[in-house]
């Protein structure tokens, strides 16, 4: 299997590359992204390419002739990109990667990193949608994910190739760049006093394992991957020893502004999560992909707060090192 990984420079992309390097069924790995990988890779080849540079993407991917594509090049607003750049990079990168991989002529499976944001949380929409629910995104990130899913599905149909759409609950972790994770780690965490709805999250390791399992299973269709259980924002704040600050109505705008000043800008989909909640039924993925039950949402949130303090070395210890 010759695997192309888009978004290899992110935490998730690098971890998937690590796992595939240890996989005997994988003959070659090629990664592309705007940023370099976050860990040392031994077998994988990496090309630093801006996903908006279609010519360069086309050239690199065609030369590799992938048989499998793991499309992780989905840019979440305020994770590594501004909201506008995130939409442009996701859309351009998806179209360029899928078109080039399809034209290379040997693609037999596609796996796409998506999110449960595609279901949206409009009033009257299901609280815990399963894969049978028609996506109806209500935020720019949800639309961006759904666009990537549509492009992948179209490509899969044209090539008669299975496309697995892996819809993750928000990914958070101590080293994972995520707007939700940054917000929850602030000293004071805002929550809606009128709703304080539950949301689920996914651990980065479980997400990587799910993508690798999906690559081998080559299942056609969507699969939700969520940490079982849920927490509310006020509960997460208490779990992390933070101050939970009740918010109502127009005060939200001030809270978002203050969070942005504190280094944790709140994009639309995170604001929606705090006001309307976000969960999904992830039981089918465990069954279909044969995954171990993922870490619970409680455990993932606890892990988020276990990020160790920076230990500054004294002069003597530096010399010893």
């Amino acid at each position: 299997m010759r695997v192309l990984i888009t978004g290899m420079g992110g935490e998730l992309g690098t971890r998937v590359a690590n796992m595939l390097e240890a996989d005997a069924q994988v003959d070659a790995i090629l990664g592309i992204d705007l940023d370099p990988p976050r860990r040392r890779l031994y077998r994988a080849e990496f090309h630093r390419v801006d996903p908006r540079n279609r010519e360069r993407m086309d050239e690199v991917i065609r030369g590799f002739e992938p048989t499998a594509l793991v499309h992780i090049g989905i840019y979440e607003p305020y994770a590594r990109s501004s909201p506008r750049a995130a939409v442009a990079r996701t859309a351009s990168g998806t179209i360029a990667a899928l078109a080039a991989a399809a034209e290379a002529g040997s693609l037999d499976r596609i796996v796409v990193r998506s999110g449960i944001e595609v279901y949206g949380r409009r009033r009257g929409s299901p609280v815990r949608p399963d894969e049978g629910v028609t996506p109806d995104p209500s935020t720019p990130f949800g639309h961006s994910l759904l666009h990537a899913e549509h492009v992948a599905a179209e490509t899969g149909r044209a090539l008669d190739t299975p496309v697995t759409l892996v819809r993750f609950a928000p990914l958070v972790g101590p080293h994972f760049p995520s707007p939700l994770g940054r917000l929850l780690r602030l000293p004071a965490v805002p929550f809606s006093v009128l709703a304080d709805p539950p949301f689920s999250v996914t651990h980065q390791e479980d997400a990587a394992a799910a993508l690798v399992a999906a690559l081998h299973a080559a299942v056609d269709g969507p699969l939700n991957v969520c940490g079982p259980g849920a927490v509310t924002a006020s509960q997460a704040a208490r779990l992390g020893g933070r101050v939970a600050v009740p918010m109502v109505g127009p005060v939200w705008r001030s809270a978002r502004l203050l969070a942005e000043l504190a280094g944790a800008p709140v994009p639309e989909h995170v604001s929606e999560l705090l006001l309307r909640g976000r969960t999904a039924d992830g039981s089918r993925a465990i069954e279909v992909l044969g995954l171990h039950p993922p870490r619970t949402t409680h455990d993932v949130v606890r892990h988020l707060y276990e990020w160790g303090e920076i230990a500054y070395l004294t002069t003597e210890r530096m010399e010893a090192a």
């Binding site: 009257g124 539950p198 849920a230 969960t279």
Partner: protein
């Protein structure tokens, strides 16, 4: 017999201490559980005595409900906005299992508050997901305003979800209504939806469920207790 002394939480990680100090400690630490629909078990434990003060309910036929796994409990609709909560609280007390009720509005603050107590919106995807997770879910029949004592039509789509999931459909008659304090719940024999005992394709399951609930309402027990409820005993 040897009694084991030690930390019960360590021996059984699924055990939940429902004493007041443990409830308070979980609330302060944030370690209480809220499920994906928003159900907060600790909160229902705290509010359960209040429900006992407001409603006095008796339940007959609890053995008709499965000890494990999901079931769709279909009952006649009585007048009163708090009726679903009263019914769910009575069943939860009798079965020692959380009981979910449908029809919660998706609007803050009432929607999220009722979801804390076990409510869910009337969305078929949520019903499907709840039954798949092994929950007991109550669904009311339609209300027949012209004949208040009669069972109304069943929601065919909700029954179809139960058949699809292979969970039993349990008819239930409810007597007593707001503002009276007393309620009586009578559960009937479940309709098995697992093959080969599932109803034949094309059978009018809605009419069957409606007839079963009506039969329970017409039965002597229900009538007698309905009279008790009217007398406010």
């Amino acid at each position: 017999m040897t009694l084991t002394t030690g930390d019960l939480d360590a021996l059984d990680p699924d055990r939940h201490d429902l004493g007041v100090p443990a409830l308070l400690a979980r609330r302060l630490a944030g370690s209480y559980e809220v499920d994906e629909w928003g159900f907060d078990r600790d909160l229902t434990v705290v509010l359960s005595p209040l429900a006992g003060l407001r409603w006095s309910a008796t339940v007959d036929g609890v053995g008709q409900l499965p000890e494990h796994g999901g079931a769709l409990i279909v009952h006649n609709a009585r007048f009163g906005p708090a009726e679903p909560i009263a019914v769910a609280a009575a069943l939860a007390r009798s079965t020692s299992r959380p009981v979910r009720f449908t029809g919660v509005p998706d609007r803050a603050p009432i929607g999220p508050l009722l979801r804390r107590l076990g409510g869910v919106p009337s969305d078929l995807a949520d019903l499907r997901s709840l039954l798949a997770s092994g929950a007991l879910v109550t669904v009311p029949l339609a209300r027949d305003w012209r004949r208040p004592g009669r069972a109304g039509r069943a929601t065919a789509s909700a029954l179809a979800v139960a058949v699809d999931r292979g969970v039993p459909i349990v008819p239930m008659a409810v007597t007593g209504f707001e503002p009276s304090r007393r309620r009586h719940l009578v559960l009937g024999a479940p309709i098995v939806t697992r093959r080969p005992l599932a109803p034949a394709p094309g059978a009018d399951l809605g009419a069957t469920v409606q007839a079963r609930v009506q039969a329970l309402l017409d039965s002597g027990d229900a009538d007698a207790l309905s009279g008790d409820a009217r007398r406010g005993r």
